[in-house]
């Protein structure tokens, strides 16, 4: 693996950039691996990377039915933050955020993590109290959070609608300056390149069609490229968690739904931070290419189609325009949808399953991207030691039957109410 650097690019200027080698190999699957990871998204690749580089477990395959990073890794709005109210969530996301800060160097691949601030707007005294509560909870754990007055907000995001006759006037905000965005594809590619260099086999166009059990132990997977035996099987397939787990006879506390997002044509810088709102359901940021990236609520009905309902997106846009009216004449360039595995408390599910040798990392709802390095780090540690890492213990699969949900929004078990 040739190292990436400005110097190597400059060298390329004189050799027609002919010296670059593949970022990862395209191997055929071996008959058996110590660990088989199902799903070549960010989480699966990060898990493989940390297994190989931190735990010395290199006989690992990542099986991807399409192309790596083609699922939710490449379909989200690239937001990274750890500003959660519930302590198990903020601890886990903060673990991830710390990894983000040095991830480009770690991987020698610029994932463009841009800590330009994750901003929540408040539109009433009640909103501001809830934001302060969240900020206070974060600060109590040593996570950065800062309350902002309207005057401070004006300096940061001058194009927000600060008028008093706005439908939801802006009363202030809470910002996590260490939050921001990253280049989503680069995260998958960077982890893939690093994992590959450490010996992991990344096998694309290899769909898992069955999970082979001997007694209560999962021992192999059937794939479109043959049977592959595994010491441990780890499911990292986001929206398809339920589908894959069913191959092992499991029913999960998960419902797959569609989440849409869109991007506008590029313009010069106009949105500096990641803008979210306590009362309006949209989130806005501007990509490095200048496109305004827009997301909103999920479609709230079950689907595996990667295809949403246009009026859901229109609703998110309306709310975004309420925050920033000058977006009106920008044009939506592209919209897309991902399949999210909505869990029944809004928090992920990480840990062993009732089937021996089969582990699950899923249920990320629409919050998975920001967790990518942390999820990989914690899941790899859990797999390597054969027990859940202490930080992911609250996210066990059996928390629901125990009655111990981790419910950030307090809306209960119906994912479509979330």
């Amino acid at each position: 693996m040739g190292r990436y650097s400005a110097l190597s690019l400059l060298r390329g200027a004189f050799n027609g950039q002919s010296h670059w080698r593949p970022a990862w190999r395209h191997p055929d699957p071996k008959p058996a691996y110590d660990v088989v990871i199902i799903g070549g998204g960010g989480h699966g690749l990060a898990t493989a990377y940390y297994l190989a580089t931190r735990h010395g477990i290199r006989n690992v395959a990542v099986l991807e039915k399409g192309y790596i990073g083609g699922g939710n890794t490449g379909r989200n709005t690239t937001i990274v933050r750890s500003n959660y109210r519930q302590e198990p969530l903020s601890r886990m996301y903060e673990t991830s955020l710390k990894l983000w800060q040095t991830l480009s160097d770690e991987l020698n691949y610029n994932v463009m993590f841009s800590p330009r601030g994750a901003l929540f707007l408040g539109h009433s005294d009640a909103d501001m109290i809830r934001l302060a509560e969240k900020g206070d909870a974060m600060r109590n754990q040593g996570i950065d959070a800062e309350l902002l007055s309207v005057d401070q907000l004006r300096k940061i995001e001058p194009l927000l609608d600060f008028s008093r006759d706005a439908r939801f006037p802006i009363e202030g905000g809470m910002i996590q300056w260490r939050g921001g965005t990253a280049r989503h594809d680069a995260v998958a590619w960077g982890f893939a390149r690093g994992a590959d260099a450490a010996g992991v086999n990344i096998i694309q166009r290899c769909e898992v069609t069955g999970i082979v059990r001997e007694g209560n132990r999962a021992v192999a997977v059937e794939t479109t490229r043959g049977r592959i035996a595994a010491g441990t099987i780890a499911i990292c397939v986001a929206g398809h968690s339920g589908h894959v787990a069913a191959m092992a006879g499991l029913k999960l506390p998960v419902e797959s739904q569609t989440l849409q997002a869109m991007v506008t044509e590029g313009v010069k810088p106009m949105v500096q931070t990641v803008v979210m709102s306590q009362s309006l359901h949209c989130y806005i940021n501007q990509s490095d290419k200048g496109g305004i990236v827009f997301g909103g609520d999920p479609d709230n009905w079950p689907s595996y189609a990667q295809r949403g309902q246009p009026m859901t997106l229109e609703g998110a846009v309306a709310q975004g325009l309420a925050l920033m009216p000058s977006l009106s004449r920008l044009r939506m360039l592209r919209c897309w949808a991902g399949v999210t595995d909505m869990s029944f408390d809004g928090a992920p599910i990480i840990g062993p399953t009732p089937v021996d040798g089969l582990w699950l990392n899923g249920g990320w709802c629409y919050g998975g991207f920001k967790a990518t390095p942390g999820s990989g780090w914690l899941f790899a540690d859990s797999l390597a030691h054969g027990r859940p890492h202490e930080i992911v213990e609250p996210f066990s699969l059996h928390r629901f039957e125990r009655g111990a949900p981790v419910d950030e929004n307090g809306v209960g078990p119906m994912p479509n109410h979330r």
Binding site: H240, H243, K251, L252, P302, Y304, M311, F344
Partner: protein, 87 residues
């Protein structure tokens, strides 16, 4: 956006309807605890057809069960639920 054939109103835009839950997640009244926990906290969630409960919330308010494919979104069966009604 789907067209949903409301058993009472005929074909209407999906935006008039609200998805409630799957049939397999209905917790019967007086369910045993284990039965209630299983119904509430697990789903078949197939990448194929499933039975879903929707409501024509912004229409007649009636409830319906539809069998719908989760990839094609095609609705293969639909029926009303609720008390006895007149035509």
């Amino acid at each position: 956006m789907l067209t949903i054939a409301c058993p009472h109103c005929g074909p209407r835009a999906q935006a008039e309807f609200v998805y409630e839950r799957t049939v397999d997640s209905v917790v019967p009244l007086d369910a045993e605890p284990a039965e209630a926990v299983a119904a509430l906290f697990t789903r078949a969630n197939p990448r194929g057809e499933d039975d879903e409960i929707w409501r024509h919330t912004h229409g007649c308010g009636g409830w319906l069960v539809m069998r719908r494919h989760r990839v094609t979104h095609a609705i293969s069966a639909i029926r009303a639920i609720g008390p006895e009604t007149l035509p």
